[in-house]
Amino acid sequence: MITARWPALLLLCLLPVSINSHPPRASATVAGPTVHFTDATATSNISFVHDSGASPDKYMVETFGSGVGWIDYDNDGFPDLYFVNGAPGSANALYRNNKGDGTFTDVTREAGVAADGNRSYKTGVAVGDFDGDGYLDLYVTAFGPNILYRNNGNGTFTDVTAAAGVAGGPNEWSTSTGFFDFDRDGDLDLYVVNYLDYHLDDNPYCGLRKPGYRMYCHPTLFDGMADRLFRNNGDGTFTDVSKAAGIANPAGKGLGLAFCDFDRDGDTDIYVANDSVRNFLYRNNRDGTFTDVAYGTGVGFDINGKPQAGMGVDCADVDGNGFPDIFVTNFSEELNALYKNLGGGAFEDVSATVGMGSAFAPLGFGTRLFDFDNDGDLDIHVTNGHVIDNVKLYTPSFSYAQKDLLYENVGGRFRDVTDAAGAAFQSARVGRGLAVADFDNDGDLDVVISSLGQRPVLLRNDTPHKGNWLLIRARSRSRNTYGLGATVRVETPGGVQVREINNVASYLSSSDVRLHVGLGAAASARRIEILWPRGGRQVLTDVAANQVLVVDEP
């Protein structure tokens, strides 16, 4: 296990080099990589079981599942795990990573993050250092008031929701969420996606009226709800700027959230995956406002112009042209959507032509674009599971629990490698949240999946013959201490990769704040250029592979 750090800068300079310059990528593929993930849950001491609160009343929120977040809450260099629970009164769980030895210790009670006094259904989680003290904090969303936990830096957290002013409305159904510095003032703001205007006491009967056939209702029955954007005031409080910023669209029925700088203009834009209505792409106008450019860019609909049932989403450059593409998981009998970013504000829907047809039948939820074989391009993992528990009664060919899907990126097209990825991928689950981190710091990205009403699954990446790698831990001088939103351009003899330091994507979940980059056969990165969120550029040269690289903002 290589855990070498990089406390001193190899080479630091500020250069007027455009981060949008992208020579054609050469193949960085290591010969014959075979992906393999091992289900490491049983030996991990993770005993958490999700409670959906399922009831005969079929409240829609019972279908949601809950998210999962990787958070190195004790700053020991090993990402810990935070599981959100569902049913009112059920406890969330924080597990400390025992230095990457594959085991975890339940520290929920001493940390004070169970949130079991909250009578809401809890849903998503965001991880970020909102107060700039160097420790990652937690924000938990809910069908009801949300919760902000400040990390005290001593293994405990304090609920500071009321003081911070980020609870949201008492009856809001919040879903995915994330910290980002939208106004580039150096501290982390907070975006909260909202779903439906739904009330438990107005719960219509849906499905056939005979025993066992009641089903969860379709979201079309209900109105949407506007998202919220909280601007960090820098003093522990936030201001709700949703309307002024232009993101308070009450038509939204949001589930998934991803941040990326899709137009590469140096600020963070927002993509919201909506359920059964068009998706939103909010372009950051760099003046505190956003414009929804989904119509102009074509990323709100499928290729036929129809809205889909968006669930999870990620945004990253899968074809190596330097611009982040957008990947959205959708309902069963809808293709997952891959919008290829052509640059210049134009996208092309390539969902049907890149080899992901096997995703048509399953119902996708959590997902991430990540390089599971370290060959220098981004692969895809999708966890699936239907929302209707009795779907078989209606459509016998459908199933509630479903297998995950794993796609290997082969030159911008995708090859379904699910069946070759190990026994863990042969098990069906009611997948919901998904997040990635290299929890054992061995250079490859591992996966955790939260399943509805089930135990989570920890998948250790044991891919043999994988390529070289870097894990970049950015340390900003701003209060955005982990450099979230920084763009990193990595050059190797195999080509150029443009990535963003960004832990917000998937469904209700949050991944590691460190940036993982597969280097393929390259023993070093010839050049690494970092565009920090506040605009500074930093260049490192000849960076040796296979290390955790700590980079301090100059």
């Binding site: 379709h218 029955l221 109105d223 038509a251």
Partner: protein, 362 residues
Amino acid sequence: MPLVTRSTNLHVSGGLIRAVGLCLAAAGLVATVAARAEGGQSARGPASVQERLNRVGSGLFAGTAPPDDAIRELKSVLAIDPQSAEAHLLLGVAYRMRGSPELTGEARAELVQALAIKPELVPARVYLAQLYLDLGRAGAAREVLTTGLAQRPDDPQLGALLAETERQLGHPDRAIELARQVLLRDESLAQARYYLGLALLDAKQRDAAIEELERVVRSGLKVADANLALGAAYIEAGRLDDGIEVLRQGTTIDPLRADMRVTLARALRAKGLLDKAEAQLMLATPKPQSGGPQFSQQQTGADFYFELGLLRRQQGRLQAAADAFKKVLDTQPDRDDAVRELAEVRRLLQNKPRRQPSGTAP
């Protein structure tokens, strides 16, 4: 055997949307669109946006522009000006005109967004309320309309739709009062007259209802819903020939309306024209829905199987009749008429078990 009329379950769609659109156009929506565009809120060519919105609006309401073309055009307008409330409104209307259940949510989303941008955009309230009614959410419709009427107390479309909303909320007398108030201001408003007819049916004033609905149908407005309501009223009144005629007209206005064909089959069966009834029912056969039937499809499906059961019974195919009634009870186990019919058919089957002709329901 009683004829079943379900006037309270009639929903409004298809042609009536266009009819409402015509009313709205007359009320100045297109002018509103033009005025908005003249405001020059698009930095990239206000004249072009104005022309495009005018053209799309006129085409939609005149029925000369295919909704798909309008949708494409409006999306391109919104790509230029995402804050155009009128473009969102027209897009919502176009989605609704597509008549596809899967676009209902998107239609509503566009109308909601139009109102979020411009709360005083009354036509968006009318269409949004209409969508709520289609979804069976009369309470939400009333809220939207009440807000609109506070802004424009004399707006005839808002008033007419509020009448229909009150009917669906179970207040037919209030609905009659509201509809008549609207007609006092504008007696040519067919939409209000149609709603008045429905309310009169609910209030058990069938003859008056028929009179109002006849005026709507005879006005030349091709609105399938009016034919359906009038046809059902004729059947209930025993005027089977009139019912068959007006329902046949309805099937030419909207050949895909399964509820129209089921009602027509009922009239034909009552006349003893069993083969013709069978033919209409076959055209109304519910299609299997992946993931389970959706809301209004369940109602139509149950009505189809109920009528099929009655037809099979009349044909002497008792087992097939029983199967059909059981299918009704699969979706609506509390439906008393189906329970009664199934019990009766079973009694007949027990009495004549060996003489039952073979046959299965489709």
